[in-house]
Each structure stands twice: as C-alpha cells, then as structure tokens.
C-alpha cells in the first residue's frame, strides 16, 4: 500500500507551503513519527512526520519548491515486508518523459470505418522529425544562428524545441555559469548584451553597476505574512490612549530570571480579566468572548518578527510565565515556532523598553482587539500607548482599562503571585 504524505495546513491562513529541506531520500526506510521534511508556512518552519512505517518511494517536490496545502509531497510504501531492495524507487523527475510516437498510419490501420476513436486520434496526431520545433522557436534560432537539427541529434535540445529552450541555450552559450547566475538573480534579458562573445562574471557585474540595476529579492513567506497582517491592521478603525504606569514595583520585583515583561504580562492579564472586551474577538456576525486572558507578545529574531501567544496568563504564576517566556525565546532562536504557538490571543503587547525607546505605538496583531506599546522606564514611569480596535472596545472601556493598569502596577498583591 502506498501512503501519501501531503502538504499540511499549519495555520488557518496557510494556502501553500515551501519545502525547506528533505530529511530523507527515496529508498530510505522510515518509522512512524520520523521527521521526513521541514516546511515553511506563512508563519513558521515546521517539521512534517510520517505516521506509518515503510520505505520512501518518491519525493514529489524539490527543496525550495512551493506546493499547495493538501497536495502530495511524498509517497511511502507502507508494506511492512517491503525491503529496500524490493521497493521500486522513483527519484523526483528531472528529465522530460519521452514523447509517445503516433503516426497517422498507425492510428488508422485495420479500421476501415471512421469510428469516433479515429476521429479522436486524428485530432491528436503526433509526429517526430529531426529539427522539430515550434515556428517561434525556429525563428528565434535562425536569428541567432542556432542549428536545431544538430543540437537535437546531440541531445542538447529537446524534441520538439520551444522558444524557452532556445532562450536557455542562448543564455548558456553567451554566459559563463557564474555570470549566468548573476543574470538570473538580476532577471536580466540577454537582449541587453551584444552577444559577440562569452560574458564573464565581472563583465555582467560591470553592466549591473553601470546601469544601476537593482536586484529583485522575492519576499519570504514570513515577510508576506507580516505585510498581510500589518496591512489588515491598517484597515482597522483604531484610536490611541496615552498614559504612564508607575514602574517602582515593576523595577523592584524584576530580576535576571523575571524580566519586566513577565510582570507586564501579569498586569495586563489581570486588567483583561476585569474588562471582558479585551478578551473578545470580532467575527462576521458576532463577538466571541474568551474566559481567560491570552496575550500575543512581539518577539524578534533577526529579520523575522513573531507574535507568539502566551495562553491563559491569568491562571499562571510569575514563575510559570518566566519559564514559558524563556522557552519561547529558545524556540525562536532555533526557528521552531509552530503555527500553534501563534494562535488564540485577544490582545497584544509590544515592549521596546530594553532599547531605551521612550514612547511609540504598535500595529494590532491578526485578530486581536488591541495592542499596548510599552517604552523604557523614565523618572520611575513607563509610557504605555494603547492602540485599540474601536469596533470591539469603545473609548470609555479603553480609558477604564488604562486606569486599571495604573492601579495594578501599584498593587503589591500582583507581585506576590
């Protein structure tokens, strides 16, 4: 029995995934639970496991390829008796399949009557002759003095030859491999060159510098997700509330193990428990109100910006929160943040206090009702900017929330738990 592994859906918004690396190759035997690949969704890199024992028969896509959710990416022969020798191993296809040869003669032999079958075949007559190429490819080849017949005999051009094949040939003929890589990276057209000799890397680079050509760099899945989120945030009807909270206790109780962020999470969770609008999420026709306070926290790792979610903070002690925070940082470093880590919040915090920034405002994450931007401690105070979605929380509720934060920051009971 062949067992198909499909591109998993790692988040609600994921439509396609990029295969980062294969952990197995065709012919390998695998056990249930083995990691066979790493896939990048719109949010994170995740591992793909097999749930059956067997032998990897075929890898359908190559590293770096993108495939839609639900499409087959690998096939595993799960016959427990199969051995490496027995299993028919297919490699990802690299060469075009040989074309079927059908001639007119063959398709009409024996049958004197014109059956529907023959009419069908006549529509798809296939002939293969030397120098077979599309008219457009032939015209292009003629222009550059490319001999299709000879090249096809030598197996250097496919049969039939299309325009794209001739273009590839021109690139290879006039550019060294290193130069060609640059040409590809910069998406240059060969028409820009005189094509009177083989171009070297430095010649192409000089052309790029002289003409001030920018290198196109495709957006990563992560960048696309961030762009999508902030663009959506921009469309939300928001207002801001600016105030300060007292930092005396925050400073007093913060330590190496328990950063100010831990206490901020705790204070915000308590305020969210007091005002239910901050635990709500807007759907098409209704509002969902969650029983516990789950907070998304902006965390950066190099180029990547994540908003991992710390769940049910109101039920957790500061020790537990500190542990979770440290664990998430570790995951971030190792690129192991999963789509599940990014779900389920109703409010966000972005803390740039450690950078010395005094005051800023933040963009609301995904479906959150709002976000708080917290700055550095100055004169014993921390500036807090609330950015709030007015569809869920009105100005009065926002002000009450800010008031509550100020009270809680001064309430020693909070810092006991």
């Amino acid at each position: 029995m062949a067992y198909e592994i499909v591109m998993p859906q790692l988040s609600d918004s994921m439509n396609e995934g990029k295969l980062i690396s294969w952990k197995v190759k065709a012919g390998d035997s695998v056990k249930s639970g083995d990691v066979i690949a790493e896939v990048e969704s719109d949010k994170a890199i995740m591992e793909v496991q097999t749930f059956k024992d067997g032998i990897v028969q075929e890898l359908k896509i190559s590293e770096g390829d993108t495939a839609p959710v639900g499409s087959v990416i690998a096939v595993i022969e799960d016959n427990s008796t199969a051995t490496v020798e027995k299993a028919e191993v297919k490699k990802p296809k690299t060469e075009p399949k040989p074309k079927e040869i059908k001639t007119v003669k063959e398709s009409i032999k024996k049958e004197p009557e014109i059956s529907q079958d023959i009419v069908e075949k006549r529509r798809d007559i296939k002939i293969e002759i030397e120098g077979m190429a599309s008219p457009r490819a032939k015209a292009l080849a003629g222009q550059y003095g490319i001999d299709i017949v000879t090249l096809q005999k030598e197996g250097r051009l496919p049969k039939p030859t299309h325009t794209q094949d001739i273009k590839e040939f021109i690139y290879k003929r006039y550019f060294t491999p290193k130069a060609l890589k640059v040409v590809r990276d910069y998406e240059l057209d060969y028409d820009a060159f005189a094509l009177n000799h083989k171009y070297r890397y430095d010649e192409v680079m000089r052309y790029i510098e002289d003409n001030d050509i920018a290198m196109p760099k495709p957006l990563s899945t992560m960048q696309k997700a961030v762009i999508d989120t902030v663009t959506k945030a921009q469309q939300k009807p928001v207002y801001h509330i600016y105030d300060f909270i007292d930092a005396t206790l925050l400073q007093e109780y913060s330590s190496e193990d328990k950063s100010i962020t831990v206490w901020l999470l705790k204070i915000f969770a308590q305020a969210m428990m007091d005002i239910e609008q901050f635990r709500s999420r807007l759907l098409k026709e209704s509002i969902q109100i969650y029983p516990n306070a789950s907070i998304s926290l902006a965390m950066a790792n190099g180029e990547a910006l994540y908003m991992p979610v710390f769940r049910d903070i109101n039920l957790k002690s500061s020790d537990e929160i500190a542990k979770e925070l440290a664990y998430m940082k570790q995951k971030l470093k190792e690129g192991r943040v999963s789509a599940d880590d990014l779900r389920g919040s109703t409010f966000g915090i972005s803390n740039l206090g450690m950078t010395g920034i005094e005051r800023f405002d933040a963009m609301i994450n995904a479906d959150d009702s709002g976000i708080a931007a917290t700055g550095a401690i100055k004169n014993g105070k921390i500036a807090v900017t609330l950015t709030i979605d007015h569809r869920l929380i009105n100005g009065w509720q926002g002000a009450v929330f800010m008031q509550r934060l100020k009270e809680l920051a001064k309430n020693e009971d909070i810092f006991k738990g």
Partner: protein, 330 residues
C-alpha cells in the same frame, strides 16, 4: 446612474426600451414578445408602454417573422425580429441569407436593411437535440450580415442599442443560460461593438472564446494557472463577423500559445476560422500547436450526463489545457 447592476435580460430590455422611446420607427416582432413578455422576458413590459402596433405578437412562422421584418425595413422602420431559439431560425434562413443579406448589395446601396434578428442558442438544460444547437458558424459565413455573440451584460446593452440603429442587418446571438447572468452596465461607456474584449490579462497562454464559454473559461483559469504555473489571457470575441483579429494578434504575439474554446461542434466549428487565421498570419509567432476545445460531433443528447459530456465544461477545459500545456513545453 452611470453604472448599474442588472441581469443580462434586463440589459437587453433596457436597450430595446430606450431605442423604442427615442425613435418611433423601432418595432419588435416575434412569437410571444407582446403579452407574454418574450420567452426569456426580454420584451417584458414593452407592450403596455408602446402598444400592439409596435410590439407585435406573430404566428409560429419564423420565415414570415424575418420576411416581415425585411419588408418593414425596406419601408423605413427599424424592426427587431425575435426568434425563440437558433434551431427555429433555420426556417428563416432563406429570408436571412437570400433577402436580408443581399438587398443592399443588389440595389446598389439604394435600399438599407436596418434589421436586428435576435435569438438565443446553445446547450441549456435538457432541451435535447432540436433545441440546443449553435449556428454562428453558418451565419458568420454569410457576406452582408454582421454577427454578434453576446456574453457580457455591459456588451448586451451597448451592442443591442447600436445594432438597432445600424443601417445594416445584424444577427444578434444570445445564449439560453446567460439571461439571468448578473453584471454591471456602464451607461456612459463608449464601446466599439466590433471589438473583442480582453476579459483577463495574462502573459503565457491566450484563450479565445465567446458566448457562455467565456464564463466557463474564466472558471477554469485558476486551476490552469495553478497547475501550469503560467498566466492566461482570456479574450471574449464578442463580434464574430467581422472578427477583431487585431486584438487576437496583439495577444498571441505576447503569449505564442492559443487555445480556442467553443460550445459548437468541433468539425466546421467557428473556432476553425480563428485557427486558420493564426496558422496563416501568425505562424512564426506560435510556440505550440493551437488547441481547439469544442463540442463533440454529435447531436446534443437529452440525458444530462451525456449532454454535459458533449460540450466543454470548466473541468474539461482545465484538464485539456493543462494536458496540452504539459505536453508542449509549459
């Protein structure tokens, strides 16, 4: 006011209504166009507004409907002749081809024929072989008449209004499944009714189609684009005679690959005219064999499954184009 959403049949009704109110020479005649409001409700409400002298119910006699229209046109009126379906129009072919199409030529231009002959055609739902056919290939081969194939709501309004005020006879082909199609009419738009419309732009494959097949192509395009990782340009011909070769040429020079989709039978189908033009005039720009997707060479079956199997559907279009692309270097 300038842009209004309406149904295809409402757009046609609006065009006739506006033409009748602006010119008292405009009349409409056909089976059930009056009290019943037209088999597809295109002439709904017109008899109450303009009376039985201008909205004329006729006997079931197609030859006489078009014959009368031709006579009215010679006498100075601007008649719109409605025929219930393309198969019934066969009875009127003598009037259409021998009379309507020829008089201007044979009278050395002294007689003009401002007639519009409207009828729906194509496969609807289980109307069987005698009520489901398409005759655009025959009619567009007749010199002296112009043939329009109306797929978009906006074009329906503008083209019918322009056709009514044209001094030459026009065959105005509608499709049975399009009457309830929704679309937006832009009343201020100035359109050339003898130009094709690029419904969707793309760079790798040109798909040429007309009438209802345009909608089916648009449904098939996302799957094709996803499977081949190429982009499709979709052209709605709109005018079958004259053909807007210029628009097709521009597109094919860009893409080098053409698919022609028609509901009509494959053999002798209208698409073969487009294929012939491509092979004759654009041979050196083609980068793949032309693909024609058409109906089977069989009378349209009554059985729903067979009926659908006999014509292109969004699924079959997507499959055929994908296969063709894969075996031709895409």
């Amino acid at each position: 006011m300038s842009k209004v959403e309406m149904l295809y049949r409402e757009a046609l009704n609006r065009a006739i209504d506006e033409a009748m109110s602006s010119d008292s020479n405009v009349v409409i005649l056909g089976e059930d166009v009056g009290l019943y409001g037209g088999s597809y409700r295109v002439s709904e409400g017109l008899v109450a507004k303009y009376g039985e002298d201008r909205v004329i119910d006729t006997p079931i006699a197609e030859l006489s409907i078009v014959g009368n229209a031709v006579g009215m046109a010679i006498g100075g009126l601007r008649p719109i002749a409605e025929i219930m379906t393309a198969n019934f129009a066969l009875l009127a072919f003598d009037q259409i081809i021998n009379h309507m199409a020829k008089y201007r030529y044979m009278s050395a231009g002294k007689i003009t024929l401002p007639v519009v002959v409207r009828f729906p055609q194509g496969v609807s739902r289980q109307l069987a072989a005698q009520h489901s056919e398409s005759y655009e290939q025959m009619l567009s081969a007749v010199p002296g008449v112009r043939v329009l194939a109306v797929s978009s709501v906006n074009y329906a309004y503008h083209a019918l209004k322009r056709a009514i005020f044209s001094d030459d006879p026009i065959i105005f082909i509608e499709h049975e499944l399009l009457y309830n199609k929704k679309g937006i009419v832009d009343f201020d738009e100035e359109i050339d009714i003898f130009k094709a419309n690029i419904v969707k732009e793309g760079s790798d494959i040109t798909i040429v189609s007309y009438l209802k097949m345009v909608d089916d192509v648009i449904k098939a395009v996302p799957e094709i684009e996803q499977k081949l990782n190429k982009s499709c340009e979709v052209i709605d011909l709109q005018t079958l005679n004259p053909i807007d070769f210029e628009t097709i040429k521009k597109s094919v020079e860009k893409t080098g690959r053409v698919v022609i989709v028609e509901e009509d039978h494959y053999t002798g189908g209208y698409g073969s005219q487009i294929a012939s033009f491509l092979a004759e005039k654009l041979f050196y720009t083609l980068d793949a064999p032309i693909l024609r997707i058409a109906g089977e060479d069989t009378p349209i079956p009554y059985n729903r499954k067979l009926e659908l199997a006999s014509i292109p559907t969004p699924e079959s279009i997507a499959n055929r184009v994908t296969q063709w692309g894969e075996s031709n270097g895409l």
